[in-house]
């Protein structure tokens, strides 16, 4: 699919694909607001020109290249402002200049714009120590389909009605376009440590993971995956800011299992995280559900991987089909709410 420059009465000069999808690259918030007021269609926030074969007729690609700035950094609050078009990699690189970090950024997320991640609303980077990436977003500024600009206090927590700042999260562009965010950062850990531990099977491994969490030893990332021997191997990276040795000792005591070569964890770290990482993505589809059901899901899947284990939830990559969470009428309600946001044309 090729794109050509055309003059669209609503968008002015824009790129149009043969499919009918359109792409516009507003230079500032006013231009973006005018675009959204002037045209109707499903929005997709991206940076740069659209990728062929990923568009649908009537879609509007919002090229957020003009909103890719990162900074300033609030060194006291350890908070950074970033445009909706900024990539997680660009944010991480900027933070590291000030001795800060988002925590481990997977290679597949490195070049993804913030707005795109928020549009999807899926758990992007689970990390027991540093938090899910979306949870680090403290404030979101967005332009609504009607052109209005939202406001959101930059605050760690609030109780001002529903979490309207998250109105765009998971909305696939239907609730507006993310102009910018404020993101919480962590200090860079001075030291990191690795662990690899073998378990007899999924049940033992996932139970050990829960015990590790209860012991307060929280890895920056961890991965549970089957070995050719039929065992399940837990590999993890730790970077506890308040004392790495304490943290590793708690892990060793709580995890049990059979210690393995931590070099495997270090190698995985280098392969999957940071700017030089491969763009490895864990297998799909992804099953998300309760821990008690996760063991069965993992056991039934040959290449299952678990990167996201919490006391109340597990994501099993490669296992089964995603649960039909939206099947109970919620998708219709969401569509109605988004339609109510559309301006009268």
């Amino acid at each position: 699919m090729s794109w050509r420059l055309v003059h669209d009465p609503a968008l002015g000069e824009c790129h149009r694909a043969p499919s009918g999808a359109r792409c516009v690259a507003p230079l500032d918030g006013v231009a973006l607001a005018e675009t959204l007021v002037g045209v109707a269609g499903r929005l997709r926030s991206r940076v740069g020109q659209p990728v062929a074969d990923e568009t649908e007729p009537g879609e509007i690609w919002i090229d957020l290249t003009a909103f890719s700035g990162v900074g300033p950094v609030d060194p006291v609050g350890q908070i950074v402002r970033a445009g909706g078009g900024a990539t997680w990699g660009a944010i991480e690189a900027r933070l590291q200049v000030d001795g800060l970090t988002l925590g481990p950024v997977p290679g597949w997320l490195w070049d993804q714009p913030v707005a795109h991640t928020l549009d999807g609303g899926r758990r992007a980077r689970p990390s027991p120590a540093c938090g899910e990436l979306l949870d680090l977003v403290m404030a979101i500024q967005a332009v609504l389909p009607g052109g209005g600009l939202t406001r959101s206090a930059v605050s760690p927590r609030r109780a001002t009605g529903p979490d309207l700042a998250r109105g765009v999260v998971g909305a696939e562009g239907r609730a507006g376009v993310v102009l910018g965010v404020h993101v919480q950062a962590w200090p860079l850990a001075g030291q990191v440590g690795y662990r690899a531990t073998r378990f007899g099977g999924w049940a033992e491994a996932l139970a050990a993971g829960q015990a590790v969490l209860r012991a307060g030893a929280r890895p920056q990332w961890w991965r549970f995956a089957p070995a050719p021997t039929g065992e399940v191997v837990l590999t993890a990276r730790f970077g506890d800011l308040a004392g790495l040795d304490h943290c590793l000792a708690r892990y060793d005591e709580a995890a049990g299992g059979r210690p393995d070569d931590p070099g495997a964890a270090e190698a995985l770290d280098a392969a999957c995280y940071g700017p030089g990482a491969i763009r490895r993505v864990a297998p799909t589809p992804r099953w998300v559900g309760a821990p008690s059901a996760a063991v069965g899901q993992a056991e039934a899947t040959a290449d299952a991987e678990v990167w996201d284990l919490r006391p109340e939830g597990v994501t099993v990559c490669g296992a089964g089909a995603p649960p039909a969470a939206q099947a109970s009428g919620w998708e219709a309600l969401a569509a109605a709410a988004f339609a109510a946001l559309e301006p009268a044309r």
């Binding site: 609504l144 529903p162 109605a336």
Partner: protein
């Protein structure tokens, strides 16, 4: 709806039972208010609050759905009601209608320890749930000061926080999914919070009954901590105390409590310091505020002259009390306590031992009960809490104190610490020659405090919610995001019967 409107009352009785619907004056008076202090000032000024036409006690979600459907059919407003401990007027039936008391929905439906969750009905009183979980070796980790008189549904509806939120998070961090009855009278269960897509839990949490009636919640639970460590610190000033809190949280520590009192609040709490400062006028003020003697006339005079009183507060030495509670496994509690101690010693904090934090723990639910003494003395008292980032904490504190201090005596403590910032909890007290003047000063204090918070980009509420007390500031706080609320309201409550006038709302005149 007029009280005599028989069609719906009869229909309600047919739905939930004769004895589960009341139109008697005592019930209608009782359900015409919550613990919003301004209601008391209205009463002193001779103004009676709007009463509901009826109070209904449904037994389960199905009955809630039937009641909602009936009210929708008759276009009658519904105000969901838990235990009535809200302090913002969120459950006042300002348009009359039906108050839906959910306390009969009090069952713990299921506990799944292996999955770390409990499903509980909305009307379950918080302390009862916590005690029940403790017997299973578990805890919710949610300890609001209202825990004895608030419900799970109320917590979720107002985006409540417990005193240990630094470790366990706010209620929104605990919600896995919700059962809600929409304004269309349909019972639905939200998708799990980790399911991806639109986060419906984030939409219902904090909606204060305007988007749906929450009838049950699945919440994350924790194993009971096996160890706790208590420590009190005397810090040289507010900056030093805030610095300890910030460094501890940004180091990835997870204490359950970090709580810093400003100099006046330190005096009121009664740390080991400041015995000398507690003499003279300030001593009288403390005695009066805490109801341990002192003359009501003296208290009223002091509170009626806030510039003088706030000026006198500046004579208090700048030292502050900081409380820290760490918990978890024995190793984690000890490691956290040691790490905080190392940070505290770095800013010349004095170790006061376990006593102050243990004393706080023993009385942590008693705070609200002191307020009635102030009103009995002919004065008023209230609190409001805001939240901001660490870099803004001191500036926000100073600005709010200066703005509010023109109208009332004001003090604060800093708590609910997170890596990104914390909450500032202001307590203010005032007086006036007449109830009308008192109410005007009360309103002026609120207006000044929230105006300042909005201007400085802070969150105008951390855990008390919006209700009526913050409604007029919501537009300024959220900008066009209120259109999202409007779109959700139009979708989820198409006839606008659910707690009308709240959240983005009608505020007091």
């Amino acid at each position: 709806m007029p009280p005599s409107a028989p069609p719906i009352v009869d229909a309600l009785r047919a739905c939930v039972g004769e004895r589960q619907v009341s139109t008697t004056p005592p019930d209608r008076v009782a359900y015409a208010r919550d613990l919003w202090p301004r209601s008391q000032l209205d009463r002193l000024a001779g103004e009676a609050p709007q009463r509901p036409a009826a109070v209904v006690w449904p037994a389960d979600a199905a009955q809630v759905a039937e009641v909602v459907a009936l009210c929708r059919q008759h276009r009658v407003p519904i105000v969901p009601f838990g235990a009535g401990s809200g302090v913002c007027g969120g459950t006042l039936p300002i348009h009359g209608g039906v108050v839906l008391d959910l306390k009969r929905l009090k069952a713990v439906r299921q506990l799944r320890p292996a999955d770390g969750i409990v499903e509980v009905e909305a009307g379950c009183v918080g302390e009862r749930l916590e005690r029940w979980l403790n017997r299973q070796g578990l805890s919710l980790g949610h300890f609001p000061s209202s825990i004895l008189c608030s419900t799970v549904g109320g917590w979720v509806a107002t985006r409540s926080a417990g005193q240990c939120s630094s470790r366990y998070g706010k209620i929104e961090d605990m919600v896995v999914d919700l059962e809600v009855v929409g304004g269309d009278g349909v019972v639905r269960r939200t998708p799990r919070a980790d399911a991806g897509g639109v986060d419906w839990n984030a939409i219902y949490v904090g909606s204060e009954g305007t988007l749906g009636v929450i009838t049950a919640a699945t919440l994350r639970v924790q194993r009971l901590p096996t160890a706790q460590a208590f420590r009190g610190w005397r810090v040289p000033n507010i900056e030093a105390g805030v610095e300890i809190m910030r460094r501890a949280m940004q180091a990835g520590l997870r204490p359950s409590v970090l709580r810093l009192y400003d100099p006046l609040d330190t005096l009121m709490v009664g740390s080991d310091g400041d015995r000398k400062a507690a003499k003279g006028p300030l001593h009288s003020l403390k005695q009066g505020l805490l109801g341990k003697g002192g003359s009501g006339r003296g208290l009223r005079w002091a509170l009626g002259h806030p510039r003088l009183s706030n000026g006198a507060v500046r004579l208090i030495p700048p030292g502050c009390l900081l409380l820290a509670v760490s918990e978890g496994s024995a190793a984690e509690a000890r490691a956290t306590d040691d790490a905080i101690a190392a940070i505290a010693r770095g800013v010349q904090a004095e170790d006061l031992g376990e006593g102050p934090a243990r004393a706080w723990l023993a009385h942590r639910y008693a705070v609200s009960f002191k307020q009635s003494r102030i009103y009995a003395a002919g004065a008023f008292v209230d609190t409001f809490e805001v939240a901001t980032t660490w870099g803004e904490v001191r500036g926000l504190y100073d600005a709010v104190k200066a703005a509010v201090g023109r109208h009332v005596l004001v003090m604060a403590h800093f708590s609910h610490a997170y890596p990104g910032g914390c909450s500032i909890y202001f307590t203010f007290a005032g007086a006036g020659p007449t109830p009308q003047v008192m109410r005007a000063r009360y309103d002026a204090a609120w207006q000044a405090g929230l105006d300042t918070a909005v201007t400085r980009g802070a969150a105008i509420a951390h855990h008390h919610g919006v209700g009526l007390s913050r409604g007029r500031h919501m537009g300024a706080a959220h900008g066009e995001a209120q259109r999202w609320f409007g779109a959700l309201k139009a979708t989820l409550d198409p006839d606008g019967i659910l707690n009308p006038g709240k959240v983005f709302s009608e505020a007091p005149p």
